[in-house]
Amino acid sequence: MIYRFRFGGMGIAAALLALVVSGCSESPAESPNVEDDTFVGADGVAIDAHDASRIVTLSGDLTEFVFELGLGSSVVATDVTTVAPEEAVMLPKVGIGRFLTAEGVLKHNPTLVIGNTQTAPATAIEQIRAAGVPVAIVDVPTTFDGLYEKVTLLGILLDTPTTAGALNDRLQKEIASASVGSGDSSTTRRIAYVYTRGPDVMLLFGEGMTTTPVIEAAGGLDAGVEAGVEGNVPVTPEALAAAAPDVLIVPEEGYAVLGGIEGLLAIPGVNATPAGRTRAVFAYPEGDFLTFGPRIAASIERLVADLRSLPAAP
C-alpha cells in the first residue's frame, strides 16, 4: 500500500490518509467475544476491571462512540482523525493513530486507550501496555452488523451495555429509514468511491471497504466492487474504465487540493467515465463518509438526496 511509504509525524496529510485503510487490516486472529461480560479485543487481549476515568481514543469514530456512550467527559486526548463532536475536536491530539508513539499517548496519563486494528505500529501498543496502561483494540467493521457489534463491544468495555443497546437500536432505525428500499430504483447508479489527497494519491475503493455498505444502503451499486477491486487500488485509466462509474464520490479535502471538478477531470481516465462526462461528482468530508461512526445514517441520507438530484439516467 502506498501509505506505508509515508512516515509518521508529518502532519495532517498522513492523518487523512489514515482514514483510507478500512479494507487493509488483517483479519483478527480471534473474533471479538461479544456474548461475555469481559471485553476481548480484536487482537485477543482481554481487558477487565479497568478504570475509564482518563480515556485516549485513537480513531475519529471511536471518539464519537465514546461520547455517545456517555463517557465524553473522560476523554483526555484523541488522534487527529477526530472531527466530531465539537468538544472532542478541542482536545489535545496524540498525533495520528496509524503512526503512534507511546510517549505521545502516555503524556496524557490515560487509564484506558482505545484503538482499532489499524492502530500502528504494533510496538507502540506493546510499549503502552508495558507501561501498565490497558489498550483496547476493536475491529474495523465493513458491514452494518459489524458496526453494531463494535458498539456492543465498546459498551462492554466502558461498562455501559444498556446505553450501547439503546444506541444500536437508534442506529438500526436511523440506517433503516435512511436506506433506499429494493423496490425504489430512483437512486440505482454505478457509484465509485475514489480516495484522493491530491494528484499523488488516487485510490479506487472496492470490496471490504467501509464505503460499500453506505453506497448500497443508498440504493447504488459499488462500481469498484463490480469491477472486482479488492481493498483499494491506485487509480489508473484502465481501472476507471473497467469500473465505468455513473457517479464519483471523492473526499472533500482531497477534492479541494485537486482544484475541484477541473482538477479531477484532468486526471487521466476520469473524463472518459460516464461520471466524468456528466460531471456527476459528489465531494463529502472524510470524517463523515469514511468512518463508520454514529453519524453514518446522515451520510446515507445525504448520498440519497444527491443521487435523486441528478438528472434521470439516460
Binding site: 506505508r4 512516515f7 487493509c24 508513539t101 503524556k107 505500529p121 510496538t123 510499549q127 508495558a130
Partner: protein
C-alpha cells in the same frame, strides 16, 4: 601518519568520553513527549525504583525511556565500532556498514524474521536471520575482495545494497503486516519500537561480537600495510578477513533489528576520532563505540522531541546533521 598520542591524553579523552556519554544518557532520560523532570530521574536512581515504582512517571521511565536510551547507546556503539573495523578491512575511509550494503543485507533478514515473530515475543528469529544475512554478505564480500580492489568492492557494495533495499521494500509491501516495521525503518531507521525484549536479545549478540572485533585489533593494524605485508608478519589474512567481516555482519544484524538502517554514524565517528586517538584498532574500536553511542543518544533524543508527540526518523537526523558535518571535515582537512 598521525603521531601516537600520549597515554595521559588518551586517558583524558576516554574518561571524558565516558562522562559525556553518561551525561547525554541522563539528559535523554529527562527529555521526551511525556514530561519527566531531572528530579524524577535522580529520585528514581537514588531509590532504584523501590517505593515510587508504580506511578505513571516511573513506568514510562523504566518501561519505555530507559530501554530506548540504552538501545540508542548500544546501537551507536555498534555502528561506530563496525565503521572502524570496515575501514580497516577495506582500507578506505569510505567504508561503512550502510554504504557497503551490510545494513541492507541484514535488513532483508530482519524483515523476514519480523514477519514470522509475534510483536510481544523475544525477537530472536529476526536477530538470527539478520545476523546470518549480514554475515553471509560479509563472507561473500571477503571472497570477492581478493580479486577486486577496495574501490570496486565499495561500488559493488553500493549496488548490492540498493538491490537489497529494493527487495526489503517489496517484501514489506507484499507482506503488509503490522508485525513488520514500515519501509521507512529500513531506510532511515528508528528506535521508537524499542522494548526490553529487543534490547536484551540485541545486546546478548552485540557485546561478545564487538569484543571479538576488538580482539582482531592488532591484525587490523597490520592489514593497513597491505595483505601481503600483514601475512609476512604472521597474520593469516585469508582466514582473518572473512572472520572479521562475518562478525561485522552479525553486529550489523543485531543493530538493524534494534534501530533499523541508519547511515553516517559509522563514517563520521571514526573520521572524527582517528586524529585524536591514533591508528591503533584496540583503542579506536572502543573510542568509536563511545563516540557512536553519544552521537546516537543525542540524535535519537532529537528524533523524539523535535516534533513530539510524533517522531522524526533517526536516520534523517544523522544524515541531515552528519552529512554536512562530514563534508566540512573532509574539505577542512588537508589531503593525506
Amino acid at each position: 601518519m598521525t603521531p601516537r598520542p600520549s597515554p595521559t591524553r588518551l586517558a583524558v579523552w576516554f574518561g571524558g568520553g565516558i562522562v559525556l556519554l553518561g551525561v547525554t544518557m541522563l539528559g535523554a532520560l529527562m527529555l521526551g513527549a511525556f514530561s519527566i523532570s531531572a528530579g524524577d530521574v535522580f529520585r528514581w536512581i537514588v531509590n532504584s525504583g523501590s517505593d515510587t515504582s508504580d506511578t505513571a512517571t516511573y513506568r514510562v521511565l523504566t518501561s519505555i525511556r530507559l530501554p530506548r536510551v540504552l538501545a540508542a547507546a548500544a546501537f551507536g556503539a555498534a555502528l561506530g565500532s563496525v565503521g572502524v573495523v570496515l575501514q580497516g578491512t577495506y582500507r578506505t575511509p569510505l567504508a561503512d556498514a550502510h554504504i557497503l550494503g551490510y545494513s541492507s543485507a541484514a535488513g532483508v533478514g530482519a524483515a523476514l524474521g519480523f514477519a514470522v515473530t509475534p510483536v510481544a515475543a523475544f525477537p530472536v528469529v529476526p536477530v538470527v536471520l539478520a545476523a546470518a544475512a549480514g554475515a553471509g554478505f560479509g563472507i561473500a564480500a571477503a571472497a570477492l575482495r581478493a580479486r577486486a580492489g577496495s574501490e570496486r568492492l565499495v561500488l559493488a557494495g553500493v549496488a548490492f545494497g540498493f538491490a537489497m533495499l529494493a527487495w526489503t521494500g517489496l517484501f514489506v509491501l507484499i507482506v503488509d503486516s503490522p508485525r513488520v516495521p514500515t519501509f521507512m525503518f529500513f531506510v532511515f531507521g528508528s528506535l521508537g519500537g524499542t522494548t526490553w525484549k529487543t534490547l536484551v536479545v540485541a545486546t546478548v549478540v552485540l557485546v561478545p561480537s564487538v569484543f571479538a572485533l576488538w580482539r582482531y585489533g592488532p591484525g587490523l593494524d597490520l592489514l593497513v600495510l597491505g595483505d601481503r605485508e600483514a601475512r609476512s608478519l604472521g597474520f593469516d589474512t585469508r582466514r582473518m578477513i572473512p572472520a572479521v567481516v562475518a562478525v561485522v555482519g552479525i553486529v550489523v544484524g543485531a543493530s538493524v533489528v534494534l534501530g533499523g538502517v541508519v547511515g553516517f554514524i559509522g563514517l563520521l565517528i571514526p573520521f572524527l576520532l582517528r586524529p585524536i586517538i591514533g591508528p591503533r584498532h584496540r583503542l579506536l574500536i572502543p573510542a568509536a563505540a563511545i563516540g557512536g553511542a553519544i552521537a546516537v543518544v543525542v540524535a535519537d533524543t532529537l528524533a523524539r522531541t523535535v516534533a513530539a508527540p510524533s517522531e522524526i526518523p533517526l536516520g534523517l537526523i544523522t544524515a541531515a546533521v552528519g552529512g554536512p558535518f562530514l563534508g566540512w571535515l573532509l574539505l577542512k582537512r588537508a589531503p593525506t
